[in-house]
Structure formats: structure tokens, C-alpha cells
Symmetry: C2
Subunit: 231 residues, 2 copies
């Protein structure tokens, strides 16, 4: 069989928008470039696609290289292809968004001079990475309302307060405690553990976990996760 010999070929990259949640803040993991162009400037973590892997694998590889983590929540977003987006050479880049639980001591590879930034305090980024981040944030806002991904930003066991904080910081608005708990409980996809987190109060607050098995069973029966109106 012949090849498509006449056609142009392109460099293909993946760039990861890595979100983490720390106490009250939504954070993003950025790296400091140590090569030209834009040496010393902040950038998303990325890498070129290799011929023996697909894009998901490339994104996982890049993410693992930086964080040491595997099985991270990772989703393909958009593909960016402006002719001049990379001044060195034409490169088409596929963005991926990753959700990480920061509390379980992720060991960031020091080779990349990576740093977590609160979303509002993040520096300007190289190329079209600012746009990638904006697109990822609006996707995150949508996703958190339609898929049970808030949990991905928390440790396996979490308090209602923590979960509420995740939603508040992503949706950008304060939520009423009682209404929040009522809504979450109505979804019936959490397991209450007979164990308390005592770090935040004398009384202590009960811990919960996401019941993935139950969630999947409900989805199979037609249930759709829907948390709030997308304001």
C-alpha cells in the first residue's frame, strides 16, 4: 500500500494545564523554561508527540515526568494550530487538562523549576498558553457542574467543607452550606465514613468518599450528574 507522500508533516505537541486545590485556592502548575526561545519565562508543561505513542499517552508521559504521578484525571481539550504560535517552528499543540490532589504530597521533578500558582496570581505565559489556560478554566467550570470531578482535586477522604470549597473556587461564588450539603446528599453518590477530620475544629467533621461504583451504576440506569446551573 502506498504512502501519502505528497502531504506536509507537522510537529505535534501536548501541553498540560495541571490544576490542583490547596485549602482554599485553585492552583496551576507551571514550569520555567530553561531553553530558547523564551528562556526563563513561564510555560505550561508540554512535550512533543513521539511516533510510537498516541496523544493520551504523550500527555500521560509528560505529566508523569513532571509529577511522578500515574492515573491522573486527564482529558483532551483543544488543538491549537496558529501558524506562528511557536516562533521556532510550526508546531500544532493539543491541550490536556489534568486534575491533581495536592494534599497527597506530589513529588515535583526539580529539573523543570516548576511552581504552583494560584490562578489569579499566575504569571503571563509563553506562546498561546494563556489562551489554553483560559479555555481550560471555562471547561473546568462546566465540567464540575456536569461530571463528578470535584473529587479528583481532593484526597480520597474529604470533608463536606473541603468539597464545598472546591466548588466555590471553581464556580467563583460562595455557596450556602446547608443547600450545598442538601444537594450533594440528594445526588446520593457519597459514602459517609465513621471517621472524623479533627484538623479544622474541636468537634471534628465527618469524612466522605466518592462512591464510584454506585455512581456508575446510577449512570447506567440513566442518572446524569448535574450539580448547578451554569451561571
Amino acid at each position: 500500500m502506498e504512502n501519502y507522500t505528497e502531504q506536509d508533516k507537522f510537529l505535534l505537541a501536548v501541553d498540560c494545564i495541571i490544576f490542583g486545590f490547596d485549602k482554599q485556592d485553585l492552583k496551576i502548575l507551571l514550569i520555567k523554561r530553561d531553553f530558547e526561545p523564551e528562556r526563563g519565562n513561564w510555560s505550561l508543561m508540554g512535550g512533543f508527540l513521539k511516533k510510537n505513542e498516541n496523544l493520551d499517552e504523550a500527555a500521560n508521559r509528560v505529566l508523569h515526568h513532571l509529577t511522578g504521578l500515574e492515573n491522573v484525571y486527564l482529558e483532551q481539550l483543544q488543538t491549537y494550530s496558529a501558524l506562528d504560535r511557536d516562533p521556532v517552528e510550526r508546531t500544532v499543540s493539543v491541550s490536556y487538562f489534568a486534575l491533581i490532589n495536592l494534599t497527597e504530597k506530589t513529588k515535583i521533578n526539580e529539573d523543570f523549576s516548576a511552581k504552583w500558582f494560584t490562578i489569579n496570581e499566575a504569571p503571563s505565559l509563553i506562546f498561546d498558553h494563556n489562551q489554553m489556560v483560559l479555555d481550560a478554566i471555562s471547561w473546568l467550570r462546566y465540567s464540575v457542574s456536569t461530571k463528578p470531578i470535584g473529587f479528583e482535586l481532593l484526597p480520597e477522604k474529604f470533608t463536606m467543607k473541603q468539597l464545598q470549597s472546591v466548588y466555590e473556587v471553581i464556580l467563583g461564588e460562595e455557596l450556602d452550606k446547608r443547600n450545598f450539603i442538601n444537594k450533594i446528599n440528594a445526588l446520593d453518590i457519597l459514602i459517609k465514613i465513621e471517621e472524623k477530620d479533627r484538623s479544622s475544629s474541636r468537634k471534628g467533621s465527618f469524612l466522605y468518599t466518592f462512591d464510584e461504583v454506585k455512581y456508575k451504576a446510577k449512570v447506567a440506569e440513566g442518572f446524569t450528574f448535574k450539580f448547578m446551573g451554569v451561571k
Copy 2:
């Protein structure tokens, strides 16, 4: 400045999932391949990215080549990169979804042996194109509930009945006529024209147009189009 000389390069393609609406049916435009591999089998319309264009431009070019249309509603969806998705040669493909108003006599280029199929009667497609179509349909279902794109499938002037049919066929459920009209009117983004379509009844039904200016103004003030719960 140096090049990224060490890196692998790839063929990049776009594939278009072209939706149209005809009376009661949601249709999709497919072409019959006249080259190997898979000669004679049905496929999405696609083409390779060229080095002097970005992906949106490539998708528009491909679409224009097939339909003669410009300014079609076109949206990038997902990028497919399985190693063996094209048996001839490694090709990464970006899917685009297009919405076309069939009633305004689109002149399909006969070179491609293209044909409109009702979604349910569409043949099996080459490569991973079946998956692309499935993904596009679920995106369409979501989009029609959150963006005013139903109009893209209709002529500029349309009846409420036609609009309701578009929603019904996309959402896959029957809607109550009065509730539908009440909801649409509550959105306040249509203009009622003092002109009737008399093709469907003796009484005739009023025509409407989408008021894009008003819609954009409302969006600027914080309005978000939201049509129905995503069932």
C-alpha cells in the same frame, strides 16, 4: 534560532461531521471513497492540513470544496491519534462539526459521490469515523441546549414548528408544543416576522428569525442561553 530537529513529524488531517436538517430528519453528509484503502466505502469528508494554513482554515477549505458553502457553522471537536487509525500511514486527525441549512439548495460537488443520510440509516464508516460521528452527536446534543445553534440548521426565516422539530430530533424526545413556545419566547431572542409560511397549513404559521444582535447584547450582560436539562 534553531529548529526542533530531533522530533518526529506527523500527517495531520481534518475530518468534518456535517449535519443537516431536512423536514423531520437529522442528516449527515458522507462521501464514497474512490481511492485505496477502503475504496468504495463511506467516509467523512476530510483532508490533510497544509503547511500554510491552520486547522480551522483546513476544515473550511475541505467543507467549501465539498459543498461550495462559506461561513458555515464549524467547531473543532476532538483529535484522534490512535497509532493504527489509518492503515496507510500514521495520521492524526482533528474532527470538526458543521451545521448546514439544507433547505437553501446546497450544491454538493459531485466529484465526491456524496450523499445525505439520516443519522439512523447511515452506513458504517471507515477507520475511526464511526466514533467521530458518535462523539459529534453527543456534542450536538449538549450544544443545542447551551448555545443558540438550532437556527444554524434552518433557513433564516423559520416556523416555531420547524425549530421544535430540530430540537426534538437532536434531543431524541417529543416536546410539548406550548411549553416549547413558552420557553423559546422567554429567552427573548427571536423576532416574529409579519409573514406566514403557508406550505404546511391553510391557516399558515408565522415566521421567525434569530435576533443575533439582541442575543449578543444579552450575553454581554451576563445572559446564558440554556434551553433544557440535558437528559
